[in-house]
């Protein structure tokens, strides 16, 4: 009687045994609890760059329309920039705006050309009070007429703590030294020299009183001055020393005293 032959076991059959190595049911209960806790922890402690990476993933998915939109926006901005250039801030206008004049003398060309409504209050009042003819303006401020006549008025500069501080300092400076402050509103030193009120030049000879001069001369001769007294004393002292040396020389020649000199 033949026994039934056992099926031949191969390597694949042995490895298939590994599939039957399965954990028990409680393993999966613990597994689910742990993975839920880890998942919750991952949700709660998402790093800050997680939103960035999500945004980049969105960009990656829609890169074609986003790129096209970005190119279109850049082109539009470029066209706008070329079509409407920014109003140039002429240095002359800036300087004139920074140092307004108080006097009613002919204003610089830039101030005269600008409309009163475009100027600050103080400058506008000056422009209204003293409308300078263009010929005079050109003659007095010829070195400033480099600004174009049709220069648009610059927009008022935004206020800042620095500009306020400068304005206060300038006001103090004008109050304390109005003459010096005027120098800042002129272009050259010669112009300032011509405009500044000069004190009268006094000749020292013309200022001398002849009677006083005569009195002092007489007093000098009558009363010895301290300089005269000192010179007389020096002179007297020198002559007395000479006389003493001569007497001592005579004594040495008489062999009474030898070699004593002071």
């Amino acid at each position: 009687m033949n026994l039934p032959e056992k099926p031949k076991v191969t390597l694949e059959d042995l490895l298939r045994l590994k599939r039957a190595e399965r954990p028990a049911a409680d393993f999966w209960v613990k597994f689910d609890a742990e993975i839920r806790a880890k998942q919750l922890s991952a949700i709660m402690s998402r790093p800050w760059w997680h939103s960035l990476s999500r945004g980049f993933a969105f960009l990656g998915r829609h890169q074609l329309p986003i790129g096209a939109a970005a190119a279109l926006a850049l082109a539009w901005v470029g066209v706008q920039y070329v079509a409407v250039p920014a109003a140039p801030q002429h240095p002359l206008r800036v300087a004139a705006r920074a140092v307004p004049t108080r006097t009613a003398r002919p204003a610089p060309a830039a101030l005269a050309v600008a409309k009163p409504s475009e100027l600050p209050v103080e400058e506008a009042s000056v422009a209204r009070v003293a409308p300078a003819p263009k010929a005079i303006v050109a003659a007095t401020a010829s070195h400033l007429v480099s600004a174009p006549a049709d220069l648009p008025a610059a927009a008022p500069a935004p206020r800042s703590p620095f500009s306020d501080g400068i304005a206060v300092t300038l006001a103090d400076y004008r109050t304390s030294a109005p003459v010096n402050a005027r120098a800042a509103s002129f272009g050259t030193d010669s112009e300032f020299e011509m405009s500044a009120p000069r004190p009268p030049v006094a000749d020292p000879l013309a200022q001398m009183d002849p009677a006083q001069e005569r009195r002092s001369r007489l007093l000098d001769s009558g009363l010895p001055s301290s300089r005269t007294l000192v010179s007389d004393w020096i002179r007297t002292r020198a002559s007395s020393d000479d006389r003493m040396y001569e007497s001592m020389d005579h004594a040495s020649s008489d062999h009474l005293l030898t070699g004593i000199r002071f």
């Binding site: 056992k6 099926p7 031949k8 076991v9 191969t10 390597l11 694949e12 059959d13 042995l14 490895l15 298939r16 045994l17 590994k18 599939r19 039957a20 190595e21 399965r22 954990p23 393993f27 999966w28 613990k30 597994f31 689910d32 742990e34 993975i35 880890k38 998942q39 991952a42 949700i43 998402r46 997680h50 990476s53 999500r54 993933a57 998915r61």
Partner: protein, 211 residues
Amino acid sequence: MNASKTLEKTLVASPERKLEADADLAVVRRVQAGDVAAFDRLISKYRERVVGIVYNMTSNREDAADLAQDAFIKAFQSIHRFQGQASFFTWLYRIAINSTLSHLRKNRLRAFFSLEAIREDDPVSKEVVDALTDRTGVGRDAFVRELQEKLNDAMQKLSINHRTVVTLFEIDGLSHQEIAEVMSCSVGTVRSRLHYAKQLLQAELQPYLPK
């Protein structure tokens, strides 16, 4: 040929896998839209397979649980980057295997085995054990335990890459193309590694393989 096209061919060749991938993609889209609870369905669906792969690579139950959980969490954290070009199954496997390979390389000199019991209610395993021994009762259990340890010893003697290929092909049932996709290598490399690994295992398990 890039990886996504390789996977696409695999999916076209397997309609069931294609349907499975489409169903997974629908769930993934829900998670990406903010339905976090939908990810639990993916965990329940793939947890046994992921844990099985990691367990057969590490031969350690605790490490397998930790690594599988980490793989799911990594997938959850990176789900917004999943674009659907590959199947979620392949993507998840790749995460799990990369984590396991990294873990094995870090702990190359430290290996603790904690094995699960072979469940003999599985018809295939019962048939194999019956073919190998006539013992019953306690003697049969001791034989199965010894066989299990020998199998794990033989697996651990393989290199990490060879062990991964054997695990994915023989135990988890992936095709060569899917393994190539998961391991980011060519199909020829997969076949070569599989052939070499089987030769080594054959030599190790020769006493349990009757001629």
